[in-house]
Symmetry: C2
């Protein structure tokens, strides 16, 4: 166990999108400076970070200089090339650690990991050939969903298979990428737990939020969720189990399906998570600060919920609602500083706050 | 009335201290970029701003380039040289406007302004000579406090006069600077109102907070204050009167003494104010965002208080308490990224939050 980082220390963040942006602000609030590493020009996070390096993930010199300039390295997304991580970790600790990335970068590895922990998932199968897909479909049934093992997010790299006859076409669309088939499970709702584990092994969870998706993208998270008290403890215990198994340091998002027979794990994300944005206006310490605290070796903060919140993403031309939202009572706006509005692009979010006393 | 600034617009901020820093974060949250102008190297605000210009207040070329790079100019402190403002306003609007600066830069002008509005202040007198000081002391009585008319803050430029015989020495210490003498008034407590006025003339106030000072520096602000409901309306009406008289745009801090006979205005600050930091954890829209909304021509946001908060400044070696504070439940930390801890220097603050439901 190393000493906690002192104010003035530098936090390196891989990725300069909105999550890196909100991590930068949280780092500053604790007296740290943020240094963003991002291949794309003018990243949103760069607008609120002390330093930004614009370089590709295979630029060894830039990676070394970046790593040497910071005290600890973290990331806003899990699909960082392995070779990049290999180079960086020669210089500075990467938190959360490599095991969390190894597991979450690959859907099959992740599902095997969860099953080995004794956690429930939807039925799934490793798909390598049309024969294995046909075999899996006959076992799992339709509809089912074929997903690339790697690099999927916000519904990308996914194909719904409605009937067994669609198997060959679906597989062809993946162009040979390794895949998993997942069965559909009837669920009452989807919730997520934003969990954190400190460098000392302490674990804490934010109140589970209830998620609604549209077109594979999160639209809305509501706290409190409709989870029963018993299910809330199940969710928190399950998240703790995952964190401990990974010897995790930082914030982790766990998406869960709530079914009649219990909770199924949909997926895990080794980072701050869109479904945890409500914490910015519902807690003394939000998920971004909680993550920075953990990777800085600080004690985890007080994530107790003090308000009811509905978080809604502003996607693409949802930005047209801005004038109305700006004047709406109880609304906290969080925009990401992205220059261009594009369909499906996350431009910001709003937290609609209701004091717990008003319920 | 001009159109509201669109996301992507740039906010110019004069001064790079903690107020500029928190204004920058608020600007980013609304999708704006911040550009800091600050003569000192490595300003705290620069760590979270998209751009920083390091140049002196009389560097005409730097001021022009700064002004041309932004859409509107604001400031974190009121003592900006008049010549600087003259140069800047040739290029871009300065909000809050010049009248607010003219009034608040000079204690005598400010007190005359308040009195002309029909507001109560402590007794005061213009001091130019020893004879005028002696005359004022005989009228106002002792103890009294001799203050420079300009450039005072956090108790600097102030001299307490306990007995008439100390008059000559006190005056000599001011070395000929124009001064005012202020009488002490017995007050129950000091409160402040953080008020805002939009470009459209709309006015809103945050709940008044109760202040405690030590050595001339604010130590603690508590909301709710002990003000009666009637006095709260008095405070809010009075703040609105000041805002309207100045045709003000932005956030203004009004410090008030609560006495048996009513409210006296101690001083006004044409900017976000230390006693409004509690709003960061008590409201959907805090004073920093409210200020940015106003100067950007946006509707004012919802500043309704949803929690009880006690704000405490971390001054100098208060920073030694950091490990304990980091682990304290209900505490939100806000550090300013200042490299060096010095006695009397504001290093950060904490907001201790209590849900309104817990009262």
């Amino acid at each position: 166990m190393t000493d906690p980082l002192q104010p003035g220390a530098a936090i390196g963040i891989l990725g300069g999108g909105q999550l890196g942006r909100m991590l930068s602000v949280a780092a500053a609030r604790l007296g740290f400076t943020a240094h963003i590493f991002e291949p794309g020009a003018n990243p949103p996070a760069g607008q609120v970070a002390a330093r930004t390096t614009t370089a590709s993930w295979d630029d060894a010199a830039a990676l070394a200089a970046f790593a040497e300039s910071v005290d600890v390295i973290t990331y806003e997304f899990e699909n960082i090339p392995t070779a990049t991580l290999d180079m960086l970790q020669q210089h500075r600790p990467i938190r959360p650690g490599r095991e969390a990335l190894r597991v979450s970068q690959d859907r099959l590895v992740e599902k095997d990991f969860l099953r080995d922990l004794g956690l429930e998932t939807a039925p799934y199968a490793d798909i390598t050939t049309l024969a294995s897909l046909e075999e899996a479909l006959s076992r799992i049934g339709t509809p089912a969903i074929l997903k690339t093992r790697r690099f999927g997010y916000d519904g990308k790299g996914q194909m719904r298979i409605g009937k067994p006859e669609e198997a060959a076409d679906a597989l062809a669309l993946l162009a040979g990428a390794p895949a998993v088939l997942e069965g559909f499970v009837p669920f009452e709702c989807e919730v997520s737990v934003i969990a954190a584990r400190g460098l000392d092994g302490a674990v804490t969870c934010f109140d589970p939020g209830e998620n609604e998706h549209r077109d594979g993208i999160l639209r809305r998270t509501t706290v409190p969720s409709r989870l029963s008290i018993a299910r809330r403890s199940d969710a928190v215990l399950l998240a703790g189990k995952i964190l401990n198994a990974l010897d995790y340091v930082g914030v982790l998002g766990v998406e869960l399906f709530v079914t009649e027979s219990g909770l199924l794990v949909n997926e895990i994300a080794p980072r701050v998570h869109n479904s945890g944005h409500w914490t910015q206006n519902g807690c003394a310490v939000d998920q971004f600060e909680q993550h920075i605290r953990a990777i800085a070796g600080w004690p985890l903060g007080d994530g107790q919920r003090h308000a009811d919140v509905v978080m809604e993403n502003l996607i693409g031309d949802d930005m047209d609602q801005l004038p109305a939202l700006a004047g709406e009572p109880g609304v906290a706006l969080h925009l990401y500083g992205k220059a261009e509005v594009r369909a499906g692009r996350k431009m910001g979010h709003v937290n609609r706050i209701r004091s717990r006393a008003e319920r």
